[in-house]
């Protein structure tokens, strides 16, 4: 024990190593409900320090878990086998914004929202916008393959990562991708690392693509007495040749939770709310807004609010931003899923989700990115109620089965992490999973980098019914 601390201290100095019980507890969680105590938390400041830490961990066969701000929703960073939590938030420099080459170089601990502000001040735009953007970090976004509402028009983190610096399990520093728009030299390991959840190496620097900032935006919030009306609106907007920057949906339960907290006058009888944002040239946005409003009304919207300025637009967004946390008013434990189906299957998926909720008698508010088929059914339960947790486990499995049946995927933007690992076999054949495992072995033969994630295994058995971690 103390030998390890001595060795860690040699690399980092004593002030950046934490191992009191209180510290370990605070690094035992992310945004999910499962907790696992690490043995040490280390907070490096440079790639070289990270290299030293990885070498030390591997030499002593200690599991290592890279972590950003701990806002993940799949248990991607929780230290399920104990060991060392590698807190990367001190690497928080925006190294460079290259206006002419339209790219930025950032360290993994940069807060996503801070990058937004920095590039937007220069008239540029980094579109990925996970809901936790004010807190979450770029490293976490890349590792988990984060998305956000703007994915429908602009894509997800993966579509913006051009290059990476990585410390491998062997302790080498490697550089993947680069600064060019076109780059087909060799295997595309950059994309392999996006969404690799810290299981292949530690990301220490990121090059992201930027685009010019859209000139104008317009936000529209529509309330629908019937869910169907909202569901029908989505494909009709796309059919008119309009791709909104965001196209978000919230169901009745979500609406009521948000309204309880914000009192913003959302109609509590609505079965659905759509939040639609247009962006682009001013003239285009002004032209498209009334068309959208009309489509909403044609589908029975009881009220359509169009923001007249940024402040009003921000007001409307408050509802959507609040929802993920607001729903824990119903019950303390939230199982946030992000099952994703092809866009056209959204209405069918919502119908099936509602059926599953009532079959297992569970509270399940649904909201999410209707425009890109990425829904967030959230089971709101109480981990202390073991009988209900058994029903939860069954319901989750049924959600995933239906997702796959409709041509979808287990995760659109949260990552598999710990929480979805047991269900990978629903989406992939044994042959497909074999290739995943081979890749993992090639990079991390001793299974020390974020073990127990993605592939499942014994660690993820009884995920919902076991009340606590180690």
């Amino acid at each position: 024990m103390s030998e390890i601390i001595q060795a860690l201290t040699k690399i980092l100095g004593p002030e950046n190593i934490h191992c009191s019980l209180e510290d370990r507890m605070c690094y035992s969680y992310d945004g999910t409900f499962r907790t696992f105590l690490p043995d040490y938390i280390v907070r490096p400041k440079s790639t070289l320090e990270i290299q030293g830490l990885v070498k030390l961990a591997v030499a002593n066969k200690i599991p290592l878990y890279p972590r950003g701000a701990g806002t993940g929703l799949s248990g991607g960073s929780v230290p399920i086998k104990g060991g060392i939590v590698l807190d990367l938030t001190r690497l928080n420099q925006i190294v460079e914004i290259d206006v002419k080459n339209l790219l930025a170089v950032v360290e993994p601990g940069v807060v996503t929202g801070d990058l937004h502000k920095a590039v937007e001040a220069l008239g540029l735009f980094y579109p990925p916008d996970p809901a936790s953007l004010k807190t979450c970090t770029m490293g976490g976004n890349v590792a988990e393959g984060a998305g956000g509402p703007r994915a429908i028009k602009y894509g997800v983190t993966r579509d913006y990562v051009m290059g990476l610096e990585v410390v491998t399990a062997a302790g080498e520093i490697i550089h993947l991708g680069g600064r060019t728009v076109k780059n087909v030299a060799g295997y595309d390991l950059t994309r392999l690392f996006v969404g690799s959840e810290g299981t292949l190496g530690v990301i220490t620097q990121i090059i992201v693509r930027l685009i010019p900032k859209p000139e104008a935006k317009k936000t529209i919030l529509s309330m629908f007495p019937k869910l169907n009306g909202a569901a029908e609106t989505v494909p009709q907007i796309i059919a008119r040749g309009i791709i909104p920057a965001t196209l978000e949906i919230m169901d009745d339960l979500s609406i009521n939770c948000v309204e309880n907290h914000l009192h913003m006058g959302l109609s509590r009888d609505s079965e659905a709310v759509l939040l639609i944002e247009l962006d682009g040239d001013k003239e285009v946005v002004e032209k498209q807004a009334p068309i959208i409003a009309q489509i909403c009304q044609d589908n029975g919207a009881s009220e359509v609010r169009v923001a007249r300025n940024d402040a009003e637009s921000e007001e409307l967004w408050k509802a959507r931003r609040a929802v993920s946390a607001a729903i824990v008013q119903l019950n303390p434990t939230k199982i946030a899923e992000d099952a994703t189906v092809p866009r056209t299957q959204v209405p069918e998926m919502i119908r099936r989700l509602k059926k599953i909720a009532s079959k297992y008698n569970l509270l399940m508010p649904i909201y999410g990115h209707a425009g890109d088929g990425n829904l967030h059914p959230n089971i709101i339960t109480d981990r202390r109620n073991s009988e209900e947790m058994e029903r939860v486990e069954k319901a989750v499995e049924e959600i995933f089965k239906n997702t796959v049946e409709l041509g979808g995927t287990l995760s659109g933007e949260h990552g598999i992490g710990l929480m979805k690992a047991p269900f990978m076999k629903l989406q992939f054949t044994p042959e497909e999973l074999h290739y995943f495992r081979e890749i993992k072995k090639a990079f991390d033969p001793h299974n020390l980098l974020n073990p127990g994630k993605i592939f499942g295994g014994e660690e993820s058995d009884g995920l919902f019914t076991s009340p606590k971690g180690n």
Binding site: S20, E22, M25, Y27, K134, T135, R321, S324
Partner: protein, 416 residues
């Protein structure tokens, strides 16, 4: 202790981490353990029996400004400050109060005579050559930590005498439009007598009759340090002192006092205390809402920026009133700073316990103030005035730090 009433706060935390961006301490230290989410989780672990009280736990719970910024940011309004206060109470139960705080809370706060004596000694210290000698002799440097800098936190005692000793217990006006009782708070009584005089002047100008009954400390310093017993003792006494007065409102010029006074009703549970609490109003609120404010006639050509005290903007939910009040002063230009509602790092005695950290938080505030180019920083809280005033002096900034009531009073006086 039974903390079932706090279970809701714990259950409503989804661990989303959204509050961390709002936590000034997390902003400075960057460690999860020292942030708002960590404090909620650790207190829940303590309640579940997974965590014992420890020195480390005490340090974590001490390192909270009680600024309520996390609560304001949380979609579910989780009241982290309530959990922190409960934790501090538990810690006092186990470890007792540190000797110096025990002395202050049990012996000074509960007795005005002793507090007055302490203030007189401080005046002597500041006025005679003693302070000069101490500062010059580098005596403070032999003490550990930042005692030298901390000593400068205390502003000069303006009048020498406690404010309450220089005024009558009742100040009548002809045909009063309202009658109020003024709870001055310790800061105004001992350090910012000019704020007290300004409050009285403004009320006189607006034909408000003022009662200044005997009063003790509001109890906030005790409660913030986990000493509930002293808090309740002071609450009971203060309610007694103010009972029987025929008044429309009880006025404070300090939002921390204001918040505490408003909670007496719930804390004591007596009807008398509930009536007391229902009458409590911040001076800015009273002037803007309860009376037709007399507009000053003379021009005061100053640029003012306003700092929102945590306990005003998030505690009492006062944001508009002081600004509207300032805008009533002819010639005054109000220029908003960035992050006006962010904590200045004062937080009662936090700036004494954690001087460096408090100064780091203050530095951000001072940058935002400087950017406005304002002549005056106005803030309706004596504790914030003390902290920002200290920063201004230490950094040789040109700004004056004033309570908005002082500005209004000056405007009235200039017109007379």
């Amino acid at each position: 202790m039974d903390y079932s009433h706090l279970q809701k706060e714990i259950d409503h935390c989804s661990k989303c981490g959204g509050c961390l961006v709002a936590c000034p301490i997390y902003g400075e230290l960057g460690v999860e353990t020292m942030g708002s989410r960590g404090r909620v989780f650790l207190f829940s672990q303590y309640l579940e029996g997974n965590l014992e009280l420890s020195k480390k736990f005490a340090e974590i719970m001490s390192l909270c400004l009680l600024c309520k910024n996390c609560t304001a940011t949380c979609p579910n309004g989780v009241a982290t400050d309530q959990l922190v206060l409960a934790a501090r109470k538990e810690l006092v139960g186990k470890y007792g109060l540190p000797l110096i705080k025990k002395t202050v809370f049990h012996h000074l706060l509960k007795s005005n005579g002793r507090l007055n004596l302490a203030a007189r000694l401080l005046t002597v210290y500041q006025r005679t050559g003693l302070r000069w000698l101490v500062r010059k002799s580098r005596l403070l440097k032999v003490f550990p930590s930042d005692l030298e800098a901390k000593e400068k936190l205390l502003p000069d005692i303006q009048g020498g005498q406690p404010f309450l000793s220089e005024v009558a217990q009742r100040i009548s006006v002809e045909n009063p439009q309202k009658r109020i009782a003024y709870f001055t708070g310790c800061m105004t009584n001992y350090f910012f007598q000019n704020t007290g005089r300004s409050v009285l002047n403004v009320l006189k100008e607006n034909q408000v009759e003022v009662f200044l009954p005997d009063q003790l400390c509001c109890g906030v310093p005790a409660e913030a340090n986990g000493d509930e017993e002293t808090m309740l003792h002071l609450a009971e006494k203060n309610v007694k002192f103010f009972s029987g007065l025929e008044i429309d409102a009880i006025i404070t010029d300090c939002p921390s006092c204001g918040m505490a006074l408003k909670e007496y009703g719930e804390k004591l549970g007596t009807e008398e205390a509930q009536v007391f609490s229902s009458k409590v109003k911040d001076i800015t609120q009273f002037l803007m809402q309860d009376i037709e404010l007399k507009i000053p006639t003379s021009n005061i050509p100053v640029t003012v920026t306003y700092h929102d005290p945590c306990h005003a903007v998030r505690g009492l939910k006062i944001q508009k009133e002081p600004r509207e009040l300032l805008k009533k002063i002819p010639g005054l230009i109000l220029k908003e700073m960035n992050g006006a509602n962010q904590c200045c790092g004062s937080a009662g005695s936090f700036n004494l316990s954690y001087y460096q950290l408090s100064m780091q938080i203050l530095a951000k505030k001072l940058t935002n103030i400087t950017e406005t180019g304002a002549d005056v920083v106005a803030t309706a809280c004596p504790a914030c005035e003390m902290q920002i005033g200290h920063g201004v002096r230490q950094n040789h900034l040109p700004q004056k730090v004033m309570h908005p009531i002082e500005l209004l009073s000056e405007a009235y006086l200039a017109g007379d």
